[in-house]
């Protein structure tokens, strides 16, 4: 298990390094150097030269890559071209907002999804099961930015139940929770559908397995069979999908934070892209990549913890 953990973490570090290389390549492939883009067409050559030097762009590319990598490892992601603030500080300032949004969205989706999935198993074959199937598929197929706009229109503009924009007053938990409900719903609804379908399928699969029959043959209670014997296996595919899906949650945060004008990594990136603020874009994307890898690695370790067969495959 420890060996496996070390392998996984090593792999994650390697991936981060490759992502950094790719990002650097991207900056150089886009026409125009970052300094002239930042300063505009009327900048003097001296000013441009000074900015190039301060951004380290006058040095050979391999030195630049190395510097970026080394600085990133020590937590230094460069400085905002406009405000001169450290990018790392800007990210850490808004990241809790994105994390809160993502956690509320995903947490609700997991609870509702597993609940609906289990109900569908209990009611399998009935009208309710079929209605749940239609509902889940509709939830999966509507994109989150469409849901976001409708939610805004109905619940914020017409009904006025929730604020339309912002993240609530700082320090006021109630207003923060009110402000997070609509954007979290916009992101999470798709996942309720996914998880419900997945849990239904894997639960039905496991409940029909021979080992569940064995447990029944020994007179175990149905409750113990579902919670201890079946759910632990049925939950594994859901964890795998959630880890991968976390990437898509982060990218829907980019839309949703813009639609709801919430501060967060998503709106930080959107704003920085519009202003060609390269250090901020690169820093924020790198941070999200690292965070995503952290989540995927954690999910892999969790699956290996839950299923000894995965551990053996990885060990062997």
């Amino acid at each position: 298990m420890l060996n496996y953990a070390i392998k996984r973490i090593g792999l994650a570090v390697l991936i981060i390094f490759l992502v950094m290389l790719a990002m650097y390549a991207m900056v150089f492939l886009v026409p125009g150097d970052p300094a002239s883009l930042a300063l505009g067409p009327r900048a003097t050559p001296e000013l441009k030269q000074a900015l190039m030097e301060s951004m380290g762009l006058d040095k050979p590319v391999y030195v630049q890559v190395w510097n970026f990598f080394r600085n990133a490892l020590t937590g230094d992601l460069g400085y905002d071209v406009w405000s001169k603030r450290p990018v790392a500080d800007m990210i850490l300032e808004v990241f809790p907002q994105t994390l809160f949004l993502g956690a509320v969205a995903l947490g609700t989706a997991v609870v509702l999804g597993i609940g609906l999935g289990c109900l569908a198993v209990l009611w399998r074959g009935s009208l309710a099961d079929r209605l749940l199937a239609v509902l889940s598929v509709s939830m999966i197929s509507v994109p989150s930015f469409v849901i976001a706009i409708y939610l805004l229109l109905i619940f914020a503009v017409w009904l006025g139940w929730f604020p339309a924009i912002g993240a609530g007053e700082a320090g006021n938990v109630k207003s923060q929770i009110q402000a997070v409900i609509l954007p979290a719903a916009a992101i999470g609804i798709t996942w309720v559908g996914y998880i419900a379908r997945l849990v239904r399928a894997s639960m039905l699969d496991v409940m029909g397995a021979n080992h569940v029959r064995t447990a029944r043959a020994f007179g175990l209670t149905e409750r113990k069979i579902v919670l201890r014997y079946a759910l632990r296996i049925a939950i594994i595919p859901t964890i795998a999908i959630l880890a991968v899906g976390f990437g898509s949650i982060l990218s829907s945060a980019v839309f949703v934070e813009t639609v709801f004008s919430r501060p967060g990594i998503g709106s930080l990136i959107t704003g920085a892209v519009l202003k060609r603020n390269y250090p901020v874009v690169m820093g924020a994307v790198l941070f999200m990549t690292a965070f995503y890898l952290f989540v995927v690695t954690a999910a892999d370790l969790l699956m290996a913890y839950l299923d000894p067969r995965i551990r053996d495959v990885l060990r062997g």
């Binding site: 064995t214 029944r216 020994f218 007179g219 209670t221 201890r228 067969r309």
Partner: protein, 322 residues
């Protein structure tokens, strides 16, 4: 004669399928006494697994008991409430399942499962572990304490079957059902498991019911045999009767197909020509009529009755008395 533990009376079970109601079990009778080992033999689809499921009260959701009863301890266990059925399972009637690889939970340690299987016993957790450990040692698992901490996929096929037998014996059930206990094993392992089960016979006082399509296993283990065909018990008798003096043409054909009965090597093994009848609309007369070498018109029209051909030897055949 020893105490009657379990008796199946006129049991008929149907499965609701898209093609109609499939009559998997038709008026089957069976009696199991303490200390007795009973064999149930027949080809695939003859109803032996349905009978086993009915005995342990785990019929599939689309199965329906049309008539009959399974009497255990003076009560019909098929008419108990779900909760009462649960208390009979494992505690009084236990089962050794066919494929030990898939019949243990893959993500829980074997020892933890063996402890869970004793849920119905009112004992402290530690004592349950000790009992499990002792039982593993009893069925010949080396280093039981170590193997308690392993998962099912880490054991060999023979070891898994030993653990499955240990699990079923843990609760000292009155009736032990072994569903194809050696089918998943190679020949060497099979011999070892048969040897183990013969050994266990001596200290076990309940009834053992062995379900198999393997006549050799029956010969090695059983006192009495029920031969099933197309959902019916077609012949019942002592193992000697069934082997050496079979009276039903199906039993005779089965014996002729057993490679152990062949006198010399042959290029192709003998088979019984024809197929099982469609059990959605079973034949009006005898079920075996289409494959039977001695069938008459009477066999086609009238269903045969069980006749006693000798003391304790019955056959479901019009021609058996001759």
């Amino acid at each position: 004669m020893s105490e009657l533990l379990l008796s199946v009376k006129n049991l008929s079970v149907s499965y609701d399928t898209e093609a109609g109601s499939l009559q998997a079990l038709r008026r089957a009778n069976l009696a199991a006494r303490a200390g007795e080992v009973i064999g149930i033999v027949g080809e695939s689809g003859c109803g032996k697994s349905t009978l086993a499921s009915a005995l342990i009260n785990l019929l599939a959701t689309n199965a329906r008991v049309v008539e009959g009863s399974v009497d255990f301890n003076g009560r019909d266990i098929l008419s108990l409430s779900a909760e009462e059925k649960r208390h009979v399972r494992g505690r009084h009637i236990a089962m050794i399942f066919q494929d030990p690889m898939t019949s243990f939970n893959p993500v829980l340690r074997l020892g933890d499962q063996l402890v869970d299987f004793q849920d119905q016993l009112d004992l402290p957790q530690r004592e349950k572990r000790e009992r499990a450990c002792a039982m593993l040692a009893r069925v010949g698992i080396p280093d039981p304490a170590y193997n308690m901490n392993r998962y099912v996929h880490e054991l060999s096929g023979g070891m898994r079957q030993r653990v499955a037998i240990a699990a079923a014996l843990l609760m000292t059930p009155d009736v032990l059902i072994a569903d194809e206990p050696t089918t998943a094993l190679d020949v060497t392992m099979e011999a070892q498991i048969i040897h183990l089960m013969r050994e266990l016979r001596h200290d076990y006082n309940g009834a053992i019911i062995v379900i198999t399509h393997h006549l050799g296993l029956v010969g090695e283990l059983c006192d009495r045999v029920y031969v099933m065909y197309a959902g019916q018990v077609v012949e019942e008798g002592s193992t000697d009767d069934i082997y050496h003096n079979p009276r039903h043409p199906y039993t005779q054909a089965l014996n002729a197909c057993d490679p152990a009965h062949l006198e010399e090597a042959v290029a192709t093994l003998p088979t019984i020509a024809g197929r099982l009848p469609d059990l959605v609309t079973p034949p009006q007369g005898c079920s075996f009529v289409d494959r039977c070498p001695i069938a008459t018109t009477h066999c086609r029209n009238a269903p045969p009755a069980m006749v006693e051909v000798a003391a304790g030897h019955h056959a479901l055949c019009h021609e058996a008395r001759r």
